[in-house]
């Protein structure tokens, strides 16, 4: 056996999957079952005690989901992963392992609006206190660190404007503070950016977006980089202390550099319950097989559309890191040399009314609240995804009233440009 490294596209097709041991089926079967029989009482006890490899109940693990988990872990360069029902579920499960009531985490201000809501309201009710920092001002992260800080959370390519975050600079702050860096890599996908290579300790995704890629299945995933030492200082008792849920097991000591993924599974998913349907796992796995092909086309189309918009008289400005004039272009060249993603914003000289008019006239772009679909999508964040924020917060997060967000699909770029041209011009 040679130790030659397979490339990204090979991993996207093969990692985690092999012919089914029982039937020889080559495509990953959908194990649509709640439970798995035990060989005998000792086997059952071994499985429940985490002593043996095997399946118990689909809320804790499922063979279809396991293929998806290993595949994304391989693509991200992590040690292990855990698939859950949605990107939001991934965030709850991650922070449940890290924070006790009264603890804090620092989050970049530029995030998906749903995450801003989740952090501000739902997590506050758990006693998890978010402290906001500005990803364009690294020192603001340093200033936010307190003795109660347990994690830092950023997006690699940030919603809604597609700005690029300086992951390495923020990982230096996290390391100095002795806390893990969590990176939401949804808008980049590992094809464009692998945050673990730049210092991330945990990566989360909404699989619903580019990884699944076809707008047909919700899912989320947590990838453990295996880089963080959870044992020091008793700061992370879910990982370092004997767990009464498992008769006193210490997870870090037992599972080493994938202990965080195990904690998310056996303490988070088991007890909170947001399990991913094996059917969704199958759909997302099928999508991932073509991720490298799709993602490159998304990026190439997005760049062509951004260039068209930048030259159009009705457009006031375009925020796309792939344009040489963009303030994030240097970071895009460093972190995402294959392309700056396919989600970005632009603003119209005609303001709010022009945005509403544009959305209503488009024929190919679909007006809906998702990104990362094969189809091109359009939305007006101020009245939808970011509508629960006040006006100042809308502008700070890049979702002012005149801003329109696009998620550029994999159609023919000439057709997308023609659609925008007729909607802007008429």
């Amino acid at each position: 056996m040679s130790d030659r490294l397979p490339g990204f596209s090979t991993l996207a097709v093969h990692a985690g999957a092999q012919p089914d041991p029982t039937t020889g089926a080559r495509a990953t079967p959908i194990y649509q079952t709640t439970s798995f029989v035990f060989n005998d009482a000792d086997h059952a006890a071994s499985l429940f005690g985490l002593q043996a490899f095997g399946n118990i109940y689909t809320r804790i693990g499922n063979p279809t989901n396991a293929v998806l988990e290993e595949r994304v872990a391989a693509l991200e360069g992590g040690t292990a992963a855990l698939a859950v029902a949605s990107g939001h579920a991934a965030q709850v499960v991650v922070l449940q392992q890290l924070l006790q009531p009264g603890d804090e985490f620092i989050a970049a201000r530029k995030l998906y609006g749903g995450s801003i809501n989740q952090f501000t309201h739902a997590f506050k009710s758990f006693g998890w206190n978010v402290v906001w920092a500005d990803p364009d001002d690294i020192a603001s992260f340093e200033r936010a660190v307190t003795p109660r800080t347990k994690a830092i959370f950023i997006e690699s390519i940030a919603n809604p404007a597609g700005s690029i975050t300086d992951i390495e600079a923020i990982s230096t702050v996290a390391r100095k503070a002795g806390v893990p860096l969590i990176v939401d890599n949804t808008l980049a996908s590992p094809y464009l950016i692998r945050p673990i290579d730049h210092g991330a300790d945990i990566v989360v995704h909404s699989l619903t977006k580019f990884l699944g890629g076809h707008g047909n299945s919700l899912g989320g995933i947590i990838v453990d980089a295996g880089t963080f030492d959870w044992s020091t200082g008793g700061k992370y008792p879910m990982l370092s202390e004997p767990r009464p849920e498992y008769h006193g097991i210490r997870l870090q000591e037992t599972f080493g550099n994938f202990a965080f993924a195990i904690a998310c599974r056996v303490l988070g998913l088991r007890d909170l319950g947001p399990a991913l349907s094996p059917f969704n796992a199958f759909m997302i796995l099928t999508g991932i097989e073509t991720l490298p092909l799709r993602m490159q086309r998304h990026c190439d189309n997005a760049k062509a559309v951004a260039e068209f918009l930048a030259g159009h008289p009705a457009v006031a400005s375009v925020s796309y890191a792939g344009l040489p004039s963009d303030k994030y272009n240097q970071l895009a060249r460093k972190y995402a040399p294959r392309g700056a993603g396919a989600v970005f914003t632009f603003s119209l000289k005609g303001g709010y009314d022009a945005g509403v008019s544009l959305v209503s006239k488009l024929q190919l772009f679909s007006h809906l609240a998702n990104v990362g679909d094969t189809r091109s999508l359009v939305i007006h964040p101020a009245s939808t995804t970011h509508s629960q924020l006040d006006d100042a917060a809308k502008i700070k997060s890049g979702a002012g009233p005149d801003v329109v967000r696009l998620s550029v699909g994999i159609e023919d770029k000439e057709d997308l440009i023609a659609d925008l041209e007729q909607a802007l011009g008429a």
């Binding site: 093969h14 060989n39 490899f53 396991a66 360069g77 980089a225 030492d229 550099n257 599974r265």
Partner: protein, 205 residues
């Protein structure tokens, strides 16, 4: 399968083991004496002992506090010197600070063991060098259960990145069955990021 260590002795990089090195060890050893084996069923040593026995290894528990008792049907032995039989591998479940005396005792055995393995978190470079100087292969800060599960892909059920690929149909594992470890490696040894983190940590301490 090539085994670079047997071809010529070279300085092993204990920060990142090539998969072939670990694969060669797990494919060749048959008997394993586990120093610090615990009868408490939530201790990592119990997990590893039970799993390796299920995968067909001839396991011997060593723990002076439990002599006269058995671990999964195998009688406890007080020390390596009391083994009274050759073993292929010694698997040490002790903290880094307690490794050296175990190695020194292992080096008095005749014949010598072929492999000395230190568990997750355990590392003593001086003790490793001593064992390597007489031709013993050394693995540090790894778990043989995890490595066996990884290279056979049996560990994949819990979303662990086995860092191997195979287009071959594998048998359904049964009690006592040895599994094929001959899958294509995605990367050598550990993943790059966690290797880097472990290295940074050992340099700081």
């Amino acid at each position: 399968m090539s085994d670079p260590v047997n071809k010529k002795r070279q300085v092993m990089n204990h920060d990142a083991y090539p998969d072939n090195y670990i694969r060669g060890i797990l494919n060749s050893v048959k008997s394993i004496a586990m120093v610090g084996a615990s009868p408490v069923n939530v201790r990592p040593s119990y997990f590893a002992f039970k799993y390796l026995a299920q995968r067909g290894y001839d396991m011997i528990p060593i723990n002076p506090g439990h002599v006269g008792k058995e671990l999964l049907g195998k009688p406890f032995v007080a020390s390596l010197s009391d083994l009274g039989r050759p073993v292929d591998m010694i698997d040490i479940f002790r903290n880094s600070s307690h490794i050296m005396p175990v190695i020194e005792e292992a080096l008095t055995l005749d014949p010598l063991p072929k492999v000395i393995w230190m568990q997750l978190g355990a590392r003593d470079d001086a003790a490793a060098a001593k064992a390597e100087s007489v031709g013993i292969k050394v693995v540090m800060n790894r778990c043989p259960k995890i490595e066996y599960g990884r290279l056979s892909s049996e560990i994949s059920w819990m979303g662990v990145n086995s860092r191997t690929l195979s287009s071959k149909r594998a048998p359904v594992p049964t009690q006592g069955m040895r599994l094929s470890l001959n899958r294509m490696s995605v990367g050598g040894g550990d993943t790059a990021a966690s290797d880097r983190a472990a290295k940074n940590k050992s340099e700081q301490s």
